[in-house]
């Protein structure tokens, strides 16, 4: 919000003026009003572990995060480049595997990844598009540069909070909105529908598109109902679908209706008990065969998780270079592949300043945070790395950028990230903005909704 000299950045000016003119009581009332809208509209997520699933509202911070159009253009071109390359990578490894032959990405890394699906080998997907929907997490370093923290190529969620957050903000701050020249995001559902339409199996000109949800107990169920309603498509569960002669039908009161495109919000593992986890009751028996037969499109395709694997992440800059012959527009967080001698030596020399992650793990397990580790832990990781260098990557300890938030009527700053949503159908589209997630607990770097994270509206504004 402020420049290094302490002045207000120009694109924050209308917001700043409004805040200066508003007494604390008024802001507090605005905050209550916004919470109430969220509650009444049932914009909730489910917290697990309690009887019959407890619904909570997703904390929403009133102060928007503002990004200039110039910054946005860079993000946009960077994401288009990255997603194009990752999609080419997926097509390649599930077909000829040139990138593996050329030794750019180690074969073993791909074939031992638990998200690699050998069932996808040689399968042609419509228009060659594997990742119809991506949510890529970006952070900003201390110099203000955006960099990619993580790609979510399987079933990214959160877009409903982006859309409903915007609706609420427009109701509460209509004036600032007009003055700031915020670019609209409301066409996301329509753009998503268009992308799904574009990916229909050949010869299905007016495809029937459905959204497949695991059901009411899923934490993102609100989002599933929201998107289905916004797109005007049917929200189905696994038990609503039937596969007969490799064609997928949904069971309706007027008989079986053929389904052409499934926007699935169920993980690979659970989607078809015959092809993947046989104990899944959420999926549809026979769906994968229908998919292989080309009679139905799954968005995203099966097996996209290989490209957002932690170890593979380190190779993304090289993947971009390999397929597109370009330097990455958005850098990765610097990542050392410890199987490589030079990187390993550097990491071992600076272990107390590094974060070390085991590639097969997620959610903070098998991780060393150098600056916070004891001498014994450092020594333990040194041995682990030397014993099995392939299993580890390292990164310098990050300083996430912060943004001002309104907490209990006071201003304070909190760490934030940004997740734009990238759609890929006939072409790649990104609505300007995304979901800004906030670590609401002071000092915390964790932005997940289940761990005290919240959201903010994200405004992309014209500087002129």
């Amino acid at each position: 919000m402020f420049d290094p000299q302490g002045g207000v950045r120009s694109h924050y000016a209308p917001l700043f003026e409004m805040l200066e003119d508003s007494p604390a009581a008024e802001l507090r009332r605005a905050k209550q009003e916004s919470d109430l809208i969220f509650l009444n509209q049932g914009i909730t997520f489910t917290v697990y572990g309690r009887e019959e699933g407890t619904e909570r509202i997703f904390p929403h911070d009133l102060l928007p995060r503002i990004i200039t159009r110039r910054e946005w253009s860079l993000i946009e071109s960077g994401l288009i480049q990255r997603i194009t390359a990752l999609n080419l990578f997926l097509r390649d490894i599930y077909h000829e595997g040139r990138i593996l032959d050329d030794g750019v990405v180690p074969r073993a890394l791909v074939y031992t990844c638990k998200y690699f699906r050998r069932q996808m080998k040689g399968l042609h997907v419509p228009k060659g598009v594997y990742i119809a929907v991506t949510g890529t997490d970006l952070i900003r370093d201390l110099d203000g540069r955006f960099m990619v923290l993580e790609d979510n190529l399987r079933v990214p969620s959160g877009v409903s909070y982006m859309l409903t957050g915007r609706q609420v903000m427009k109701r509460i701050f209509p004036k600032v909105f007009r003055q700031s020249g915020v670019l609209p995001i409301e066409d996301y559902p329509q753009a998503l529908l268009q992308s799904l339409n574009a990916l229909a199996p050949e010869g299905r000109d007016e495809p029937t598109i459905v959204l497949l949800t695991p059901g009411v107990y899923n934490s993102a169920y609100f989002e599933h109902t929201f998107l289905a309603r916004q797109m005007g498509i049917e929200l189905v569960e696994g038990r609503d679908l039937i596969v007969h002669d490799n064609i997928v039908y949904m069971r309706t009161t007027s008989g079986l209706t053929r389904v052409d495109v499934i926007y699935r919000r169920i993980d690979d593992d659970f989607i078809d008990p015959l092809a993947f986890r046989h104990d899944s009751i959420l999926g549809v028996p026979g769906l994968f065969n229908a998919y292989r037969a080309g009679n139905v499109t799954l968005a995203n395709a099966i097996g996209t998780g290989i490209a957002d694997d932690k170890a593979l992440y380190a190779y993304v800059p090289r993947i971009i270079k390999y397929y597109l012959g370009e330097e990455p527009v958005l850098p990765n967080v610097e990542t050392y592949i410890l199987a490589e001698d030079e990187a390993r030596q550097y990491t071992l020399d600076h272990l107390d300043k590094m974060v070390v992650k085991a590639v097969g793990e997620s959610g903070g397990y098998g991780m060393l945070i150098g600056p916070q580790a004891t001498r014994a832990e450092l020594e333990q990781f040194r041995q682990l790395i030397l014993a099995d260098p392939r299993n580890y990557i390292s990164q310098p300890t990050l300083m996430l950028s912060r943004a001002p938030c309104l907490l209990d009527g006071q201003f304070d700053s909190r760490h934030v990230d940004l997740r734009p949503y990238i759609l890929y159908g006939d072409k790649i589209t990104i609505v300007p903005g995304g979901l800004t997630r906030v670590a609401l607990r002071k000092g915390s770097l964790v932005v997940n909704s289940s761990q005290g994270g919240g959201s903010k509206d994200t405004w992309v504004v014209d500087e002129s």
Binding site: Q41, T225, R239, D240, H244, R251, T252, T253, L256
Partner: protein, 315 residues
């Protein structure tokens, strides 16, 4: 519409109708029993129990507080108010995006209201205020349903659920009193009033027949009155009309079966006199209605919800 959605809507309406029935029954009988002798109270308690399809086992003799407790709070008793409201809400939650926000908010409010009511409140005083509030809430829900939801297929499935449940409920109520109404056993004046009140029909009966209570007139009213919404004839007619409004799936042959079943039931009642129905035995006539409703339920399920795949593949 998805079959699963139709099924949830159907059951949501059935459970709410059942909750209303239990509420009305308690409401109509609690005051009555204050004025009755102990043995009459026992008889009445067991009638209430049977009217709800004997939803729990009675050990020893039943007391008024025990029955109230079971029918209000006991989640294991399938026709208790709490069970029915919870089941209706759970069905609504499954199809949250298909019903209007107003409907959801009424039903959710009812659920929280019922959950808040505690056994201690019941010890303090008769639950009459509670019962009134439940009824009011259900009525609000039905009002919102008619006012805020499109009267399309979804709405018709709600009508089907409501009226099939109501036809069965009124039939069961009458069946429990069949011996008395056929003159084979004695019945007190107060008990007749409770029967009419339990079917929401007391004032309507007075308008139709004045304050002259005879068993035969009461049977005629509850069974064959074409205008009263709780009479069996009215309910099955509504049921048949709602079925006729559903999409045509005649290619599968199942719809014609459902229509035939509904048509036969309507015809049997429309073209019968009360004397005829009673001459063959009131009890068996009512059993017959209940059995036909069960067949209709199964027929609807087979035609719209759980039909065989082969029969319905597009040509």
């Amino acid at each position: 519409m998805l079959s699963r959605v139709a099924d949830s809507l159907y059951w949501m309406a059935r459970y709410l109708e059942r909750a209303e029935q239990t509420t009305r029954l308690l409401d109509a009988n609690i005051q009555l029993m204050l004025e009755q002798k102990p043995d009459a109270v026992q008889r009445q308690l067991s009638r209430i129990h049977l009217s709800l399809g004997a939803p729990f086992r009675i050990e020893g003799s039943l007391s008024v507080p025990a029955l109230e407790h079971a029918l209000i709070f006991d989640a294991k008793v399938h026709s208790s108010i709490i069970s029915c409201v919870m089941a209706a809400r759970e069905n609504a939650r499954q199809v949250r995006e298909q019903i209007s926000s107003e409907m959801w908010s009424e039903l959710n409010g009812l659920y929280h209201f019922v959950k808040r009511y505690e056994a201690e409140d019941l010890e303090q005083q008769l639950p009459l205020e509670f019962l009134t509030e439940v009824r009011r809430n259900i009525s609000l829900f039905k009002g919102e349903t008619d006012a805020t939801m499109s009267h399309g297929e979804e709405w018709w499935f709600l009508q089907i659920g409501r009226h099939i449940e109501r036809a069965v409920n009124t039939s069961t109520m009458l069946k429990v009193h069949a011996a008395e109404l056929s003159g084979e056993a004695d019945i007190e004046h107060l008990e007749l009033l409770a029967l009419l009140r339990s079917c929401n029909a007391f004032e309507a009966y007075l308008k139709r027949y004045t304050a002259e209570f005879s068993a035969e007139l009461i049977v005629e009213f509850l069974l064959l009155n074409p205008q009263h919404p709780h009479s069996i004839l009215f309910s099955v007619r509504r049921l048949a009309d709602s079925l006729a409004a559903l999409p045509d799936v005649s290619s599968r042959g199942q719809r014609s079966r459902v229509e035939r079943l509904a048509g036969r039931l309507v015809a049997t009642l429309s073209y019968s006199s009360v004397e005829e129905l009673m001459s063959g035995g009131l009890h068996s006539a009512l059993e017959n209605v209940i059995r036909q409703c069960a067949q209709l339920h199964a027929g609807i399920h087979q035609a719209y919800i759980d039909y065989p795949i082969e029969a319905s593949l597009p040509a």
